[in-house]
C-alpha cells in the first residue's frame, strides 16, 4: 500500500481525477506520466514531503512502491 498523500500528489500533478495507483504500478501505466513529466512529478513529490532525492536514487526507482519506500526512508532519516 502506498500512502494516500503520495497518491494524491501524483494525481494532482498529472491532473487526473482518480486512477488506480498501487505499489506495483509502473509510471508507463499511468496516463500522462511520460518521460518528459517524470522529473516534474518527482519534484512535486519532493516539495510535498520536504525531501530531496539524489540522481542515482531516482535512476533506480522501478515502480510507485519503490518511490513510496524512498519517501518513507527520507522522512525517517530526517527525524533522526
Amino acid at each position: 500500500m502506498i500512502s494516500e498523500r503520495l497518491k494524491s500528489v501524483i494525481l494532482r500533478e498529472l491532473r487526473l481525477a482518480d486512477v488506480s495507483i498501487e505499489a506495483s504500478t509502473l509510471a508507463s501505466e499511468v496516463p500522462g506520466w511520460d518521460s518528459l513529466k517524470h522529473v516534474a512529478l518527482l519534484a512535486a513529490v519532493e516539495r510535498e514531503f520536504g525531501v530531496r532525492f539524489k540522481t542515482l536514487e531516482v535512476m533506480r526507482l522501478q515502480n510507485v512502491g519503490e518511490l513510496d519506500a524512498l519517501v518513507r526512508k527520507k522522512l525517517a532519516a530526517a527525524q533522526v
Binding site: L16, A17, V19, L26, S28, P31, G32, D34, S35, L36, K37, H38, V39, A40, A43, R52, T55, L56, V58, M59
Partner: protein, 579 residues
C-alpha cells in the same frame, strides 16, 4: 577519391589508433573509453560474425538496442560489411506490444528490412515477423550476446569479410550507407536513404560551418534513431575523429543534470539539443546539483529539430551563465533527415540573432521590424551551409524576395536519394531538385528564420509525431464518432515545445461518461506512446473540413483557440434544458 564511411573511419583511426573515439557514460559508473583502434577491431569482428549469419553488403539491418557499450561496434560492424544500418527506437514500455510489432512489420514491408539486430528481450515479439510469408526479414539476431571470436560462425577470417565487402557490387560511395526513419510513430514512417557520399560530404561541410577543430569534443544524450543524434552527434564525430561522449537518453530525461556533469568533467565543447531541453534543464535541475560545475569549455550549444524560442535561450542563460555558459555559445541550426542533417547554421562564436517583428505583418506574410507590444521574437537559424541553398516559395511555387514569408525549399549536395521504396512520396517531396520542407519561414539579411509549418506534423520535445497516427488510435475508442477526430499541436511556452491536443466528436453529454471517454482517448494514445495533454469533446458535426474534403486540423485548431468549441457546447446544453 570518393570514399565509403568505413574507409574514412579507417583513415581517421590510422592517424592515432589510441585516441578516444567514444566515451560511453552511465550514471553512477566509471566512464568507458573506447579508442578508435578498439572500435574498428571490434567492428571487424562483428562484421565477420554478421557475415557468418548471412548478412551481405546492401542488406538493411534494423538496430533495436538500448544504450550500451556494444552498440558502437555493432553499428560500425554493419557498415564495415557494406550493409545498411537503420537505428530504430527500442520500444518504450508504454508502447503496446502489438503496435510495436505492427509498426515494425509495416516498416519491414516498406523499407525492406533484411535483418533485425536486437536484444533477447524482444525475441518473442519480433519472431512472427520472420515467419510471415510477405516479410523481407530473414533473421532476428542478438549480436550483443556474441562474445569473442571463439564463438564465430563459419567464417574464415576477418580479412575475407573485408575483401568480400569491398569487392561487392553495391560497395561504393554512391551506395546507401544508412536508412534514417524520419517522422511517425507507427504507421507512416518514411525511410530516408542516404549514400556514403551524401553523409561524408555533409559531415565535411557541416564541420566547416561549426569551425570544428582537433580541440573539439561532442557530448550528447540524443537518441541515435533521430537525425540530430545520428548525423550531428555520431557520424560527424566518427568521420572527423572528434571524441564523442554519449549518454543514455533515458537516464538524461530522468536526471537532466547528467549532461552538464558530462560537459564539465569531459571538458566538452559541442552539444546539440532540441528546444525543449533548454527549458527542461533550466527548470528541472537543482541548484545544489550544479554547484561548482564549470561549463566554460562549451563552445556551441546548438538548438535544432524543433522551433527555436528566444525565451528558451534566455532562460537557459539566466540559469547557467554563472557556471560559465557564454551567450555566444547560443547557436541554432535548421536541419532535416532529407538533407542528411543541416541546412543552415548560425556563426560559431556569435549568439544567434533575434529579430522582433510585427505579428500582424507576419500573418500577412510580411516581415516588418517592430519594437512595439504585439511583436514576435524570431530566432535566426543562420545561413545555409556550403553547397546548400534555401528559397522561400509562394503557394504557386514561385520564389519570394527577402522579408516575405513562404515555404522553405532546399537544394543541397547532401540531399537524400528518396524515400525507400516510395517513389510517389519522393516525387511529391521534390520539385526541380529542391526538397519542399513544409516549413514556413523567411530570409532576412541572408539569414533563414523558421516560423511555423505548412504541414500538420506535430513536434513534441524534438520528436516528430504524425497526427494521422494519433487520430487513428483515438478514433478506435468506443464513443468517438467514426472518423471524427483531429489531432494537432498546441504551443506550450512553459515547456518550450508543443503539446498534443485531440478534438473528438461524441454524442456523450453526461459529465461522468464524458470524463471516462476523455481518459479512454488519452489511454488509446498512450498505447502508441503519445501523451495527449488535452482532449476536447465536440458535438456531432462540429469539426469542419478543408477544401480537400478531409477534416482540417489547422482550421479546427484555430476555432478551438478562438473559443468556438465552448460556445458550441453551451448552445448544446441550452437545447437540452427543458423549456
Amino acid at each position: 577519391m570518393a570514399e565509403t564511411l568505413w574507409q574514412r573511419w579507417q583513415a581517421v583511426a590510422e592517424r592515432d589508433l589510441e585516441r578516444e573515439a567514444v566515451v560511453h557514460l552511465r550514471a553512477g559508473e566509471p566512464a568507458l573509453r573506447i579508442s578508435r583502434g578498439q572500435l574498428l577491431r571490434d567492428a571487424e569482428r562483428v562484421a565477420a560474425q554478421l557475415a557468418g549469419y548471412g548478412v551481405q553488403p546492401g542488406d538493411v539491418c534494423a538496430l533495436i538496442v538500448r544504450h550500451q557499450p556494444g552498440f558502437y561496434a555493432l553499428y560500425a560492424g554493419v557498415v564495415a560489411l557494406g550493409a545498411v544500418p537503420a537505428v530504430l527506437a527500442f520500444p518504450n514500455p508504454r508502447l503496446h506490444p502489438d503496435k510495436f510489432v505492427r509498426g515494425l512489420a509495416g516498416m519491414a514491408q516498406r523499407s525492406g528490412l533484411h535483418f533485425v539486430l536486437t536484444e533477447r528481450e524482444l525475441a518473442a515479439r519480433i519472431a512472427p515477423l520472420v515467419s510471415g510469408d510477405a516479410s523481407s526479414v530473414r533473421a532476428v539476431l542478438f549480436p550483443l550476446e556474441w562474445s569473442e571470436p571463439a564463438s564465430l560462425p563459419s567464417v574464415s577470417s576477418v580479412t575475407a569479410v573485408r575483401q568480400h565487402a569491398m569487392s561487392a557490387a553495391g560497395e561504393g560511395a554512391d551506395a546507401p550507407c544508412v536508412l534514417q526513419h524520419s517522422s511517425g510513430t507507427t504507421g507512416l514512417q518514411k525511410a530516408v536513404v542516404l549514400s556514403h557520399r551524401a553523409v561524408l560530404a555533409h559531415v565535411e561541410r557541416y564541420a566547416e560551418a561549426i569551425a570544428l577543430s582537433a580541440h573539439d569534443k561532442v557530448v550528447s544524450w540524443l537518441p541515435l534513431y533521430h537525425d540530430m543524434g545520428l548525423i550531428a552527434a555520431f557520424h560527424l564525430p566518427l568521420a572527423t575523429g572528434t571524441p564523442l561522449v554519449q549518454l543514455d537518453p533515458f537516464e538524461w530525461i530522468r536526471a537532466p543534470v547528467l549532461l552538464l556533469e558530462a560537459l564539465a568533467s569531459e571538458r566538452a565543447t559541442l552539444a546539440w539539443l532540441p528546444n525543449f531541453a533548454y527549458n527542461f534543464m533550466a527548470d528541472r535541475i537543482h541548484d545544489d546539483d550544479v554547484a561548482g560545475l564549470d561549463l566554460s569549455s562549451l563552445r556551441m550549444l546548438i538548438n535544432c529539430s524543433e522551433p527555436v524560442r528566444a525565451a528558451s535561450h534566455r532562460k537557459f542563460l539566466e540559469r547557467f551563465a554563472s557556471l560559465g555558459v557564454s551567450p555566444r555559445a547560443m547557436s541554432v541550426a535548421y536541419a532535416m533527415a532529407e538533407t542528411t542533417f543541416a541546412v543552415t547554421q548560425t556563426l560559431p562564436g556569435e549568439r544567434a540573432r533575434e529579430l522582433r517583428v510585427s505579428r500582424r505583418a507576419l500573418e500577412r506574410g510580411e516581415v516588418v521590424l517592430d519594437a512595439g507590444a504585439d511583436t514576435r521574437a524570431c530566432v535566426s537559424c543562420g545561413r545555409p551551409i556550403r553547397d546548400c541553398e534555401v528559397r522561400v516559395m509562394d503557394e504557386a511555387g514561385e520564389p519570394l524576395p527577402e522579408g516575405r514569408v513562404g515555404e522553405l525549399w532546399i537544394r543541397s549536395r547532401s540531399l537524400f536519394d528518396g524515400y525507400q521504396n516510395d517513389p510517389e512520396r519522393t516525387a511529391t517531396a521534390l520539385c526541380d531538385g529542391f526538397y519542399k520542407s513544409g516549413d514556413l519561414g523567411f530570409i532576412w539579411q541572408a539569414e533563414v528564420f523558421v516560423i511555423g509549418r505548412k504541414k500538420d506534423l506535430i513536434i513534441v520535445a524534438g520528436k516528430n509525431l504524425s497526427p494521422e497516427d494519433i487520430e487513428d488510435a483515438c478514433a478506435a475508442v468506443p464513443g468517438v464518432l467514426a472518423g471524427r477526430v483531429v489531432a494537432f499541436g498546441l504551443d506550450d511556452e512553459a515547456s518550450g515545445t508543443e503539446s498534443v491536443c485531440v478534438i473528438a466528436e461524441s454524442e456523450t453529454r453526461d459529465p461522468t461518461a464524458a470524463a471516462a471517454l476523455r481518459l479512454a482517448i488519452i489511454k488509446a494514445a498512450m498505447a502508441i506512446d503519445v501523451t495527449v495533454h488535452r482532449v476536447e469533446l465536440a458535438v456531432p458535426r462540429w469539426l469542419v473540413k478543408s477544401s480537400s474534403g478531409k477534416l482540417s486540423r489547422q482550421e479546427n485548431r484555430a476555432r478551438l483557440l478562438a473559443g468556438e468549441l465552448g460556445a458550441a457546447r453551451a448552445r448544446a446544453e441550452e437545447e437540452l434544458r427543458p423549456a
